[in-house]
Symmetry: C2
Subunit: 409 residues, 2 copies
């Protein structure tokens, strides 16, 4: 059999987030991870209990939810948005999806045609880049301004627009940089999108998670931008529900209709049980959210201290949101790359075999610490590492001890 695949699939780059983690699982016993961004928190007990009750009493919990999501869930979600100053029609302007990821994938497949250009402030969440390419689009990277806390370069965005431009894609708070984009810059990007007839996609997966009084701002709250803006939300991080795979797309009804049609062909509907879990999460007490935020703020401190101790090796912008920091590599050890790292390097696509990938592999094979090479988040990510502080404090501490020992040995 001659195994032939579609071009869109052949050019798909594997996620280095995933790949680094798999190398660790296969090769390194006792590794500690600053890689995959999964908060260590268990499911809050009241959600677990509420869902167990629904399993006993709700006769529809096992059946398809064939609308645009459970209507009770969509209207509860609309209430949540209202508290943020965003007013939506919960029947026509929202669709419950299989995680934000499923919603973003369906949306990009719905919007982006072969040869369309999509502007991506860079570095960006790698899945956004890959989805654009998978849909046949061409990512147009506009670098974020690193030394101004990874701020949006609105002039660069404006100058990147051509007659094939279809959309702009943002992640705010930013994965992988931890930046929280200021309202002022976002309004400018909204204006640019509006005056050029572009879709503006905002991925708000880390919306609840901001520090130091920086507030998350969504362009859905600007009424004249709402025609263009497509927003993605999820309870995944806020309620420790990453594995439930549930999220929402908020957009103009014409967009929602198309995304819904794509979703129907793709995975039919978001899992009913997860929709019920999300409903319990939205309706229940919210105290754990502050708890998560405070705990993650402490972990951020541990990570920043760790980085401060490595100032001659890694230079970083303090993150004000999400649970990532994206330091630049300014110096490393002068030694030859580890043999196992060299072997694994060959399994990584050629365009990703950069200095940061070599360092990430060395850190894994020499120090037993998982990190993610910056290059997988776009060209401006080269020579950086993405470090996640979603894990336990003691693991973060241990990771930095190991990195420190190795870099200085």
């Amino acid at each position: 059999m001659d195994y032939r695949f579609s071009e869109r699939t052949e050019k798909l780059s594997p996620s280095l987030i995933r790949q680094m983690y798999n190398f660790a699982l296969e090769d390194i016993s006792g590794f500690v991870s600053l890689g995959v961004g999964v908060p260590s928190f268990p499911l809050p007990e009241h959600i677990s209990r509420g869902l167990a009750d629904k399993l006993r009493y709700d006769p529809n919990i096992n059946k398809y939810a064939l609308g645009r999501g459970l209507s009770e869930l969509n209207s509860e979600f609309a209430k949540k948005l209202k508290r943020k100053g965003i007013e939506i029609d919960s029947e026509r302007e929202v669709l419950t999806t299989t995680g934000s990821a499923g919603g973003i994938f369906c949306t990009l497949m719905a919007l982006v045609a072969e040869g369309d250009e999509v502007i991506i402030p860079d570095p960006a969440y790698s899945n956004h880049i890959e989805c654009v390419r998978f849909a046949g689009g061409i990512p147009i990277y506009t670098p974020l301004i690193e030394n101004e806390e990874w701020r949006l370069d609105t002039e660069a965005i404006k100058n990147s627009i051509g007659n094939k431009t279809k959309a702009i894609v943002l992640c705010n708070p930013s994965n992988p940089t931890g930046a929280v984009f200021p309202e002022e810059d976002l309004r400018k990007v909204g204006e640019i999108a509006r005056s050029n007839g572009l879709y503006l996609l905002e991925d708000n997966a880390y919306e609840f998670l901001t520090f130091d009084g920086r507030d998350h701002f969504s362009l859905q709250s600007v009424s004249r931008d709402r025609d263009n803006v497509i927003s993605f939300f999820t309870p995944s991080k806020e309620h420790a529900m990453t594995g439930f795979r549930v999220g929402w797309v908020v957009a103009h009804p014409k967009v929602i209709d198309k995304v819904f049609a794509v979703q129907d062909q793709n995975y039919i509907c978001a899992p009913s049980i997860s929709q019920h879990a999300a409903l319990v999460a939205l309706q229940g007490p919210q105290d754990h959210v502050n708890g998560f935020r405070e705990e993650l703020a402490r972990r951020r401190e541990v990570m920043c201290q760790g980085l401060d101790n490595l100032a001659e090796f890694l230079n970083y912008q303090r993150p004000h949101g999400a649970y990532y920091v994206f330091p630049r590599i300014i110096r490393s050890r002068d030694t030859e790359i580890n043999e196992n790292a060299k072997r694994r390097l060959k399994e990584i696509p050629e365009r990703f075999r950069t200095r940061d990938t070599e360092l990430a592999l060395d850190l894994l094979y020499e120090a037993g610490v998982v990190t993610v090479p910056g290059i997988s988040f776009g060209p401006a990510g080269e020579n950086h590492l993405r470090l996640s502080f979603a894990g336990e404090e003691s693991d973060i501490q241990e990771a930095f001890d190991r990195i420190n020992n190795w870099l200085r040995s």
Copy 2:
């Protein structure tokens, strides 16, 4: 804003299965449904209980399952296949997906490039047709042999192969015809695929549901066919878990690798909670499965009797699997189409405005019964209706009383 979408999305036909149901929800109070194929059974109690326990005790139930599925689940599924005479490597040859649908979508996106031809025995499950078109492929319809219980026409399949042919897609037991394809015919199709280097996709969603001693046969049990065959399985129907969205793809490791890469960009992973529910279902008692089968056999009798009473209007092949029957319309009422039906007809894509769609709309607006127009299952479906007997016996009875009264009034 000028709302422009990708061509693949503009040409997507909405599912008439879904659309007929939505018309009913919006317009008809007290309708009865022979439309959407969702078994009326509640989740078996031991699955509900087992899952509630896991919610309390398993600290990872809320987190991504980042491999190819929970390894415990994949190996339990491999054991189940072994009892059917199918031996697979549960680490390399299986991927847990978000329902069969999610697996089929990811697989067709991975295989089918713009302009590739895909042979689809017709009538076929509408999602298969739409997914092929969405991926840029061209469905090549080869009619099933209606008067021989909707048997596969293996000669027609062979004669449809050209140099752009990439794959053949089957659903067995068949949605929408209720046919169970005989082993002999399947082996011939396997041989055709093998000797022409084609992928053969078999959707086994109704695998457990066969009647009258007809057995389901999978080409995964033919070792020399295994290089080509890609098989889809799901606990959805067998364990009343449609809303959980979990399923499996079984294929050669090279295929699994690519489908996995697509899935990772799409919805990341099948929901962990649903994977845990599937594990409980596979490990627990299986008595309810016979119960489901017996109950559905009774419902099939009710439906067949209803159809026998309408012999001058509808001519049907007795189904031996799944919970569908696909009668041909041989006569209807001579009256003008209902006014509301006429209005809704305009919302349906032009290529679907056939006699069967008119009848289905009339049955909805005149008799309050939901059915699905045959045309949405491919050209050979024209002039047929798909009727599901997954609903309660009393609903099926009521539906036929209404249809009978209306047709004869």
